[in-house]
């Protein structure tokens, strides 16, 4: 039997104005189990709290009800007070007689009557309260960042700076991601490499950061604070510890005709290669698909020229397992394939290119050493047409229904840079809408129009016809209601961007949720934008939605802050009000796990002794306290009632119902 104390607050006249607080306190004295009841001016004041503390000690209270303002206001205050004198904080219940009573009723009799019922309801609940303790789980103080683009690098640097070890897993031989392929960045036009490569070097040199390049995550177990991740280190046939990155092998390799993916296939590299000069780690990698030695066993040139003896043709994929407290997903994006958009003749003419290819064509380290030349004949283009929204805002199966967000700005950048470097080139941009919500973004776009004389035309390109060495562009001009024909030299398509293909299988491993476009979903779209609903999984960069570089970096740092907030704890306090399954009643039917948004429920086979002394193995649900958020969805779906929620148990809620209806 509980010994319950009731404390009725006047809240000045806020409550006492329409509720006869004395009458409430008096009425409570006659409730079952109530051994003490009083009222006071301000319960939340220090003096008020002392009344509570003293009463708990003096009357050996096992539970208390505070009739006051909303629990959203002072529940924590009163719980702390109770705890300070040894009463479990979950033995405190609040009857909300201010927001839900005195403030909404004008009549003293009505207010008092209702306040008594609310107090009685809280007393009825406290009768069934049980002391709860938040479980604790130790936190592994190491973070994993999946993806080594600017998002992953920034997140890793911030976490490392806070003093926590962090590993980056990057599937390519180098970190750097898409940003390393970009020439200049909007709206400031600073060189991408100049701002990115120092960060790459920082990451490599930071003693808290370990980079697993040419590696992939192949398995994830565990939960927040305690993930166990298997990383597959793909064989690169070069001993990372020995390779000095001198690059001699990449010059001597006789296999010269490998499409260079860093330049999007616009030039060629060798079968052994370092993606680009500033690659991190600067280690050669052998492309097994092209290496003559690996394919036929005859060659071995790279091995002969390597003075460090780093070449190892027998290298195999290697799997390592590491423990992490938090995982950040930073898998980034790719432009979509354009094979379903051949009205723009992408596969029919070399001079129809994507915007990312355009970046490489204007980059000093690109295939043309930074000169804007047509891929087909190496001539300088004099008329360039940019097409926006290729595949974006397209509701058909081949398209993406969303806006890719970055295309308006990078196209303005391309147009502006072209006009700046080659004033003799006419530049046309066809747009549906120009979307420039960002700091100095619209000014940037207007400058392209006003200062650089880029022709922005409200309309769309309908067909590109390669004819001779020209590209006949048929387009619409919706302002003047006409159809235009432009004989262009180069057409640049702003292809929609989509999440990297590795994201979906990764999401499955992480049990993180995704939307239909394969972008990771946030725990809350407004208030928790860098966290996945799965505890301990954080989101950084374009894997969560299209983003430009400033937004990506901002989100990357935000994700890092969340990770640091988690890793800084030695132990994690779990939510005390978690679900719990009574294994004696559990059917093992799995319905609870199906509705759990957090994957907090798993199943084990357990042996039970039967009344006839035989044993029977049954499958039963087990709730992971560290992961459960306490929503209660599972409790209702459980047919046998085995699943219940601590702090909001079936019996507690029914006691409240009974008290109200009494």
């Amino acid at each position: 039997m509980q010994r319950i104390g009731v404390f009725v607050c006047h809240c000045g006249t806020n409550i006492a104005g329409t509720v006869d607080v004395k009458a409430v306190a008096e009425a409570m004295k006659y409730e079952n189990g109530v051994v003490f009841s009083t009222d006071y001016q301000y319960m939340c004041s220090e003096a008020g709290q002392n009344i509570i503390k003293d009463a708990i000690k003096e009357h050996k209270l096992t539970g208390i009800v505070v009739c006051s303002c909303s629990p959203r206001m002072h529940e924590a205050t009163f719980r702390k007070a109770a705890q300070s004198v040894g009463l479990n904080p979950y033995m405190v219940e609040i009857a909300n007689i201010r927001e839900q009573c005195s403030w909404i009723h004008k009549d003293m009799a009505t207010g008092t009557e209702k306040a008594i019922i609310l107090a009685r309801t809280a007393v009825a609940k406290v009768h069934l309260n049980a002391p709860l303790t938040s479980g604790e789980t130790p936190v592994v103080k190491r973070a994993l960042v999946i993806g080594g683009g600017i998002a992953g690098i920034q997140t890793a640097l911030d976490i490392a700076d806070a003093g926590f070890p962090v590993d980056i897993v990057e599937k390519l031989p180098t970190i750097g991601g898409k940003m390393s392929q970009i020439d200049k960045t909007f709206p400031t036009l600073d060189c991408a490499a100049c701002i990115l490569t120092p960060k790459m070097v920082d990451a490599a040199q930071n003693e808290n950061i370990k980079i697993y390049s040419y590696s992939e995550v192949s398995g994830v177990k565990g939960f927040v604070g305690n993930f166990e991740v298997t990383i597959k280190r793909k064989a690169r046939f070069v001993d990372e510890t020995k390779c000095t990155g001198c690059g001699l092998c990449t010059e001597k390799c006789p296999q010269k005709r490998v499409p260079n993916e860093f330049n999007l296939g616009m030039d060629q590299r060798r079968a052994i290669y370092i993606p680009f000069a500033q690659a991190v780690p600067k280690i050669a990698t052998i492309d097994a698909d092209y290496c003559t030695m690996l394919k036929t066993g005859k060659c071995g040139v790279c091995s002969k020229v390597c003075t460090a003896g780093a070449i190892d043709y027998t290298q195999k994929d290697e799997f390592i397992t590491e423990k992490y407290g938090a995982i950040v997903v930073a898998t980034g994006f790719n432009p979509i394939k354009l094979d379903k958009y051949d009205e723009y003749a992408y596969s029919q003419s070399k001079d129809v290119i994507t915007s990312l290819e355009f970046e490489r064509l204007t980059n000093a380290a690109g295939p043309t050493a930074g000169k804007l030349l047509r891929p087909s004949d190496g001539k300088h283009p004099h008329k360039i047409v940019f097409v926006q929204c290729v595949g974006s805002r397209d509701t058909r199966e081949c398209g993406k229904s969303y806006c890719s967000k970055i295309c308006c700005m990078y196209t303005a950048k391309h147009a502006m840079l072209t006009r700046e470097k080659y004033p003799d080139t006419e530049v046309y941009v066809f747009y549906i809408d120009v979307r420039t919500p960002g700091k100095n973004f619209d000014e940037f776009y207007r400058r392209a129009v006003e200062e650089y004389g880029v022709h922005y035309i409200k309309g769309m390109v309908g067909k590109v016809i390669p004819e001779g060495d020209k590209l006949i562009v048929r387009a619409s001009d919706l302002i003047s209601n006409e159809q235009l024909t432009i004989d262009a030299d180069l057409v640049v398509l702003a292809a929609a961007i989509e999440p990297d293909k590795t994201a979906r299988p990764l999401a499955t491993m992480l049990t993180a949720s995704m939307d239909t476009n394969d972008f990771f979903t946030e725990a809350h779209p407004k208030l928790r934008p860098v966290e996945s609903p799965t505890a301990g999984i954080f989101l950084s960069g374009a894997c969560q939605g299209p983003k430009d570089i400033p937004e990506t970096v901002a989100q990357a740092s935000a994700a890092a802050a969340k990770v640091i907030g988690l890793l800084v704890k030695d132990k994690m306090k779990n939510n005390a009000c978690v679900a719990h399954s009574d294994e004696n009643m559990c059917n093992g039917c799995s319905n609870c796990a199906k509705v759990c948004a957090y994957n907090a429920i798993s199943y084990v086979d357990k042996e039970f002794r039967m009344p006839d002394r035989t044993t029977r193995v049954r499958r039963v649900a087990v709730v992971n306290d560290a992961v459960c958020q306490g929503c209660g969805a599972c409790t209702v779906t459980c047919p046998s009632g085995a699943m219940d929620l601590k702090g909001f148990s079936n019996k507690q809620i029914m006691a409240e119902v009974d008290a109200i209806c009494k």
Binding site: M585, N587, N591, S640, G641, A642
Partner: protein
């Protein structure tokens, strides 16, 4: 058919492939056939039966039997295989321990319907094609088989087995039944008429728990009605209210999981049409969330453990005219 089944059962018992066979045997009366577990050829020769009165759904017995060592053979009619699948999806049965023999079914006979024609005192029954001959203490009758078919068989939803290891007889198809017509008829009554209808039906309940005990979906380790801690324990009917509550709660607990096998109504000694509660849920689920047949696909997610963002609001019920 019965002989084929017996031989199959004996064959598998003899080879040691299965430890036991779940089938049907005769009860006290000729029409009173009950599920039974057979463990040797002798028992099968003496007791095994498969006829027009083998309505019982044997899938639920697997929960207990398939926990023991060795494999169990079970004979399942098309509608029983749905329950079987549903139990599989809820991990109540270890599939590897069961050898399912699907048996075709052309509907089972409802003894109550026969009694309504011939009265009590039945001593012998035999069916021959589409006729049933009945011998009572007082007279002999011949009844059209079609007239004696159980309601659930008249409105059979499927003659197709959705799970089996081996099939005896012909495979049928999923049927376009009229099983929701009666639900619709009740829906079309006024609220007062509906209340009267159900009060009349449910007030006959004697809380014998037969419906619960037979229901394959009601297979909880511990039923909330038997659990002192659940807050719903009540074992005897005191007022009509309780029958309301008991049956609403039971129907809700099996909603989305009930395969509409109709066992609840078959076993109700008071003849309460309990299936009309379950079918109401099924009908609502089909209309509101898209057609769903529990047990059709053991991998499918049930309607109450899934959702879509565009689900109708509860106001479709509360605000309807």
């Amino acid at each position: 058919m019965q002989e084929v089944m017996k031989n199959k059962a004996k064959e598998l018992l003899a080879s040691g492939e299965v430890r036991a066979v779940i089938g049907w045997k005769k009860g006290e009366f000729c029409y009173d056939i009950t599920p039974a577990v057979f463990t040797n050829a002798e028992e099968i020769d003496n007791g095994f039966i498969y006829d027009d009165f083998c309505g019982a759904n044997l899938s639920k017995y697997l929960i207990k039997e398939a926990h023991k060592d060795g494999k169990v053979l079970v004979f399942l009619k098309p509608c029983d295989t749905y329950s079987f699948n549903q139990l599989l999806s809820e991990h109540r049965i270890n599939r590897e321990k069961v050898y399912v023999v699907g048996v075709s079914c052309d509907g089972k006979v409802d003894i109550e319907k026969i009694k309504r024609t011939v009265g009590d005192g039945i001593i012998a029954l035999s069916s021959d094609g589409d006729k049933i001959s009945v011998e009572t203490l007082y007279d002999k009758y011949e009844i059209n088989r079609a007239d004696a078919l159980a309601e659930r068989c008249v409105n059979c939803k499927s003659k197709k087995h959705v799970a089996y290891d081996e099939l005896l007889g012909d495979e049928g198809e999923v049927l376009d039944s009229k099983r929701f017509d009666e639900v619709e008829m009740i829906e079309n009554m006024t609220a007062d008429e509906r209340f009267e209808f159900w009060r009349n039906e449910l007030s006959r309940c004697i809380r014998c728990n037969a419906c619960r005990n037979v229901c394959p979906a009601c297979s909880c380790e511990k039923c909330i009605f038997d659990n002192d801690n659940s807050g719903y324990v009540n074992k005897a009917p005191v007022t009509s209210f309780e029958e309301n509550m008991f049956h609403i709660i039971r129907a809700f607990h099996v909603a989305g999981r009930c395969t509409d096998c109709g066992e609840c109504s078959r076993v109700c000694p008071q003849g309460i049409p309990l299936h009309l509660l379950n079918r109401k849920f099924i009908k609502d689920i089909n209309t509101l969330y898209g057609d769903y047949q529990a047990g059709e696909d053991p991998e499918a997610r049930g309607p109450l453990t899934s959702y879509t963002e565009k689900d109708p609001e509860p106001s479709v019920v509360t605000d309807k005219e």
